[in-house]
Subunit: 261 residues, 2 copies
């Protein structure tokens, strides 16, 4: 395992003057994905769950649909390269043309195409979840988001359900943290129809679209959604919750899935 946090000698300046101390700092490491022998992209990531990040990235970009689309997957940690071979590579070749670079944290996607495809296929899950469980999941995410507590420089994402938190991922990138989670869900073939996706970060349209592509019915953020993500959530049938902190949250779309006690 590579280290994900290192201790650095830094200078702290405060009312008492200046003094040296050791401070934990998060690592940021390039990860290059080769798809079917071609260099696809270099992501900068926290070196943990790198293969899952590669798988989740390919899914978010629409280059694979399920883990079974992958023929082989090899991670060369020393070089920082994930080599992926897919079963049919025409789809991958075709899709990786037009690119969108996102507002925030992130990645390119075929933005308008993705929207068109998704709008014809909104999320239909009839799951419901009590409001107090939403708050409990967010509290658990914060407790388990260990890197943040050490370094203050990290995003976390998690998969939850009525029963509790299932899996937590962390990364310096808001998008990477979600893509690692997506990669894990694909690998483990987790049914997402009654699940909740939690994120520490803001909800821009891209995070919303990632959620919709996986048909996850409920998206919960500690932070703010954009107007575009709210509109998309309404149209795509996703329950969108923001500012889930302490004992309260805001519902921005599809409140029918939230049971108020």
């Amino acid at each position: 395992m590579e280290k994900i946090v290192v201790s650095k000698k830094i200078l702290r300046v405060d009312d008492k003057g200046i003094h040296e101390l050791d401070d934990p700092v998060i690592r940021e490491v390039p990860l290059t994905i080769f798809l079917n022998g071609k260099e696809l992209v270099t992501l900068l990531h926290t070196p943990e769950r790198s293969e899952e990040l590669a798988v989740g990235f390919l899914r978010s970009e629409g280059l694979i649909r399920r883990f079974a689309d992958i023929r082989s997957l090899r991670f060369d940690q020393e070089q920082g390269i994930v080599f992926v071979e897919t079963k049919g590579n025409e789809l991958a070749e075709k899709l990786y043309g037009k690119r969108t670079i996102t507002s925030g944290c992130g990645k390119g996607t075929v933005f308008y195409h993705a929207l068109d495809a998704l709008k014809s296929n909104p999320v239909k899950s009839e799951m419901t979840i009590p409001a107090r469980q939403i708050l409990a999941l967010m509290r658990q995410l914060q407790e388990r988001a260990e890197l943040y507590q050490q370094t203050g420089g990290i995003h976390s994402s998690a998969l939850g359900s009525k029963e509790g938190l299932l899996y937590v991922c962390e990364d310096i990138g808001r998008h990477n943290a979600v893509d690692k989670l997506i990669g894990h869900c694909l690998k483990e073939e987790i049914d997402l129809n009654e699940k909740v996706l939690l994120t520490s970060g803001r909800v821009s349209s891209e995070i919303l679209i990632k959620t919709a592509k996986l048909s996850i019915p409920v998206l919960v953020s500690r932070s703010a959604p954009t107007e575009l993500s709210i509109e998309l959530a309404i149209n795509l049938g996703i329950t969108l919750i923001g500012f889930a902190r302490g004992r309260r949250f805001n519902i921005y779309a599809n409140q029918q899935r939230i049971q108020i006690n």
Copy 2:
């Protein structure tokens, strides 16, 4: 001017139950850049200073070096397109091949190439600035970051000097906020040799590289830097400050420019 904040009817859930209220939400709008007649990229941004964002993006990607490289610039607000014609387009064509997608908030850059080029040319500025002025600049940035105060969903960046804050930009994207500022500096031909770049966001390697490309000697963040950005700051001659909050901050690299009172 397009609206950048809209009021949305939302549901607040808290100890008192559930109630409807009007909440300000930040807008997120696609902005497509056409370079020399070809569609280059679609960014998602807060619709304010869109032309400056386009100029700053082109600079950060290495597709232009100065504002004078641009022959014409036209913003079609209705379509959300900025049309840019450069004077010599071979450079732009050549450079826009290999892409890196970043950890965090962001954009592609020719990551390794950029690094190589920069390492041979570190920032040499002999400016110094008092520690209390760093804190004053950060306080002013927070006071002027109006959208954040309204919506909680925005990043801000600013240019400062010993004399005070010079220019503030806001965007849902951490990178966009910096690129808008860069676009402004290019347009106005501002000498950056004795300036400070302030950002509300985390400092990943990409933000550090943007700073280095413009030879800005001091970078101050309200948040955490990554290990890679610290290493780059040391090598590229940039004074890197993080966690500038209230009455204290951390110095991660090149402390010689900071005068302790």
